[in-house]
Symmetry: C2
Subunit: 351 residues, 2 copies
DNA sequence: TCTTCTGTTGAAAAAGATTTCAAAAAAATC
DNA sequence: GATTTTTTTGAAATCTTTTTCAACAGAAGA
């Protein structure tokens, strides 16, 4: 019998019917008091509220959602979290979600397409109402609009391989191009590009902007220098500088590459910008305090997360899943400090 | 009628009974095929699997959990996420959770005790099996063991005001003390401490260590200098240095304080360590590339997150909620670079 | 052939909330 | 006071899955 099980000595969270029994009303009345969906006499309401208080009852959200309500949760899939860039994205997403009264289930794909798909699947099974995702390297990501059924998905920072997914990006190519043009204005003719790997969408896009700027200026087209660790960076830079015709400036592809290059430059004892000018893609808090302060292309990181999440909530609210994904591209800024050769005492922001 | 509703033109995720109907078996058989809980004939299994395939069915995890299974999810509450420290913690928690096959629901408290309690409540309503939390400033946090019922909770980085909650911390006081002792060994007699706010547990603990070291050395006891913004830091530092007897070294309380102080030092045109030696609490990736490289107390950030999460899973597995919380304190390291006056070319790690 | 046994299968109940619909109570009308 | 109308309340069905238990079929043994 129900009542027998209930009286057993195992701890069990109080349910709505426990409240109803104590308040000597039907469960429906309790539900009404909780949700305010219909009129309840003040006397009855008071009894119910007292019972809720007494039992320290709180509704089981799972049951509620399960009954067909909205789950008020969205999923967020990022490659990693220890990277400031991704963490800032996550912060933006969580903040917007909270503004809408939503929780966020957050997981990392570790850049593994298998994990990414598995996590997406797991989220759908948990009835998230939408998913925001930074896809793994675009080429390998297997996320497809179709596998999400009616659940909206928004990709950002990198596009998904499935073009029908809504996407929010920044001007990677244009930003890199603009930065290289600035280096050229400083008189540099041999400019190198150092990046983690061209297989990353953003890095490849920046590389293309870099190459475009060189071509437009009629300069030697340089190629991509990989730097995916302290060691490999040091070796690459060393080889580069021992070359008969070494570069006089470097554009790094991302914060991580910048860090590797800064380390290698310190190790080789080079002076910036006298020996080698430097510009990075992606600003970071301490860029002002490196030696010398670093010139960078600044991405609107928070903005990108916010825009992507708002787009998701827009889709959720409208309940529509458009046939072709929209693509939003956000502008970037150039922050001129001193590593490029500028003499500014304080940073100058362009555009 | 059921079947009428089902055939309506509204999209609905396929359910187990849809599969059962298509495969012409009972729902129970479908369940058995999915979970492998009992023998099913090869022929039947094949039919069911084909139906699952055809409908692209995947089980509703919520219903499953709701039926009384474990939710395989834990909650994580952090003050913020855009801080590298917290992001790294989150990464560690998510990684350990995944190792256990668990999802993480992540929210931020924004250092607001109200939000913290609300988010914790929301997580419990979503049936998380445990919660890992970095409480808001210990004094204001209203998290109590009792409000979690049987659900295990582990606090880390800062203790909860409720001592019965399991807690994982680092040696804040001992680390700061050790660092100040090192500065004293360099011959400094007037050492200042700059921090965001003493109301933060960690910062206060570090301040106490700092004070203790000064007392032990029989030096003037200095007091706390607040620096909670670029402006206030600049003013505080300016006043400090104009004083007749300015400090010759500063210990900063955290990465954020370090950043403010670095900015102010640059602004005032001071030379480190000649004019002013510097040491920080909490290491960060670019500490090696500031001018000069920064000496810091390094906390085992990932380790702390891992230990806390493992402790949580331990509690979950044992199903016990001990009367008194255990307290684990992890050791810190001193990383000597050059801002303290050391001449090392490469960092030296102590302890 | 009839019983017994094993191995598969399905029907019904359960989990905790909400929705629908009808009943009961109260208020309003004549 | 009887009837209608409105307000307040509760019982039963429902959401999707798993658990329990019973039924059924086929095989083995008598």
């Amino acid at each position: 019998m129900k009542s027998r099980d209930r009286s057993a000595n195992v701890y069990r969270k109080p349910t709505m019917s426990d409240v109803a029994r104590l308040a000597e009303v039907g469960v429906m009345t309790v539900s009404r008091v909780l949700n305010g969906t219909a009129k309840v006499t003040d006397a009855t309401r008071a009894r119910v509220e007292r019972a809720i208080e007494q039992l320290n009852y709180s509704p089981n959200e799972l049951a509620r959602v399960f009954r067909g309500q909205r789950s008020h949760s969205i999923g967020l899939i990022l490659p990693y979290l220890y990277d400031t860039f991704f963490a800032t994205c996550a912060h933006a997403v969580i903040t917007v979600a909270r503004e809408h009264g939503y929780s966020v289930i957050l997981t990392t794909s570790n850049e593994d397409p298998e994990t990414e798909v598995a996590e997406a699947r797991s989220m759908l099974q948990r009835c998230v109402e939408g998913v925001v995702v930074i896809p793994t390297y675009a080429r390998s990501s297997r996320l497809a609009r179709t596998s999400f059924g009616r659940t909206p998905v928004v990709a950002f920072d990198r596009p998904s391989s499935d073009a029908s997914i809504d996407t929010v990006l920044v001007q990677n190519t244009a930003g890199a191009r603009r930065m290289v043009e600035h280096l050229i204005e400083h008189g540099h003719k041999r400019i190198a590009f150092m990046g983690i790997s061209r297989s990353l969408f953003t890095i490849n896009a920046r590389f293309l902007g870099y190459r475009r700027a060189l071509q437009d200026a009629g300069l030697d087209e340089n190629s991509f220098f990989g730097c995916d660790s302290d060691t490999s960076t040091r070796e690459a830079l060393d080889a580069m500088m021992r070359n008969g015709n070494p570069p006089t400036a470097i554009l790094t592809s991302s914060t991580l590459a910048t860090r590797y290059v800064l380390g290698s430059i310190a190790h080789l004892g080079l002076h910036v910008p006298a020996d080698l000018a430097l510009a990075g893609f992606d600003d970071f808090e301490l860029a002002e305090f490196t030696a010398p302060p670093l010139t960078v292309v600044r991405q609107p990181v928070q903005e990108m997360g916010r825009v992507a999440t708002n787009l998701l909530f827009d889709r959720i609210a409208r309940g529509e899943t458009p046939q072709s994904g929209s693509r939003i591209v956000l502008p970037v800024e150039i922050v001129l400090r001193r590593s490029c050769g500028c003499k500014h005492r304080t940073p100058v922001v362009m555009q």
